[in-house]
């Protein structure tokens, strides 16, 4: 059973008011089944609309094929830590991080430990998909989860260092949140590696509304 750690507010675009969501940790396989049960139909609905609009597959949201139930197999690794933002509707965003064996690549902290974001995704109804005019229901979830990764990094004595490999569509989003793009990593299918340095004050978030 996952644990409720904290509550935070994000913007509900429909009502223009703040919505309260729970931050949950220590997710179980059952939680990931619930994520997939909740997100699967919504994901398929978006894919159907993209197909009907003749949007080229290369322009689809890049995480369209993810399956969180399959990713739950990583829960057995001792270094895997999971978080989710949960509303009354269900899971709104999920993040899986690792506390080892990743190390910083950014000067001057090369070789020091960091929290590595293995996977992070918001629910399909929170995706921004301009080609079918879809706007997110809740915004700010991705930023909040990244801040959780930073807080975990501080609590682990990694001084806020966080690293990740980004899908191409999200690179600019991370850059707007204080990450430095260190370029493609040939050991990770050429995905860009980005890193947030130590002891960096919180960066202003973009006003575009795009929040993955």
């Amino acid at each position: 059973m996952s644990k409720t750690l904290h509550q935070f507010s994000v913007l509900d675009r429909a009502s223009g008011t703040d919505a309260t969501v729970e931050l949950r940790g220590e997710l179980t396989t059952r939680d990931f089944i619930d994520v997939e049960r909740s997100w699967g139909p919504a994901r398929l609905d978006i894919l159907t609309r993209l197909d009907a609009a003749n949007v080229h597959r290369a322009a689809w949201p890049e995480s369209w094929h993810w399956n969180w139930h399959q990713k739950a197999s990583r829960l057995s690794l001792p270094v895997t830590i999971t978080f989710a933002a949960w509303s009354l509707r269900g899971p709104e965003a999920v993040m899986m991080v690792k506390t080892a064996p990743y190390q910083a690549r950014l000067v001057p902290d090369v070789g020091k430990h960091l929290v590595y974001i293995d996977f992070i995704e918001v629910a399909p109804w929170n995706w921004t998909v301009p080609s079918i005019a879809q706007k997110p229901t809740l915004t700010g979830l991705g930023s909040q989860l990244v801040q959780v990764a930073v807080a975990l990094s501080v609590s682990e004595e990694f001084r806020g260092r966080v690293g990740l490999h980004s899908l191409p569509q999200s690179e600019a989003w991370y850059k707007n949140r204080g990450f430095t793009n260190l370029g493609p990593d040939l050991h990770k299918q050429g995905l860009a590696y980005l890193e947030r340095p130590a002891a960096q004050p919180q960066q202003p978030t973009s006003q575009s509304g795009a929040d993955t």
Binding site: L23, G25, L77, G111, S155
Partner: protein, 75 residues
């Protein structure tokens, strides 16, 4: 409530030789960690490697520049 998990911690006394303590202090300084955090990270790495080696995988170190590979034997 906490922003991140705050699991209960148990304490132990560790007995190390002078050389081991020096190695621990040097690594902790290099990695910018306390000695406790350094040992925690070392344990995680050991767990990670042991789980994968126990699963039939090999631990191999590779130097791209020298094009050299060597296997670390986990006996």
């Amino acid at each position: 409530m906490n922003t991140v998990p705050n699991p209960d911690r148990r304490q132990m006394t560790l007995s190390l030789t002078e050389a081991e303590m020096m190695a621990l202090e040097a690594l902790a300084s290099k990695k910018d960690l306390s000695k406790t955090a350094l040992i925690r990270q070392a344990l995680r790495l050991y767990q990670l490697v042991d789980a994968r080696v126990s699963n039939g995988e090999r631990l191999v170190l590779e130097d791209d520049k020298l094009q050299k590979k060597s296997e670390v034997m986990m006996l």
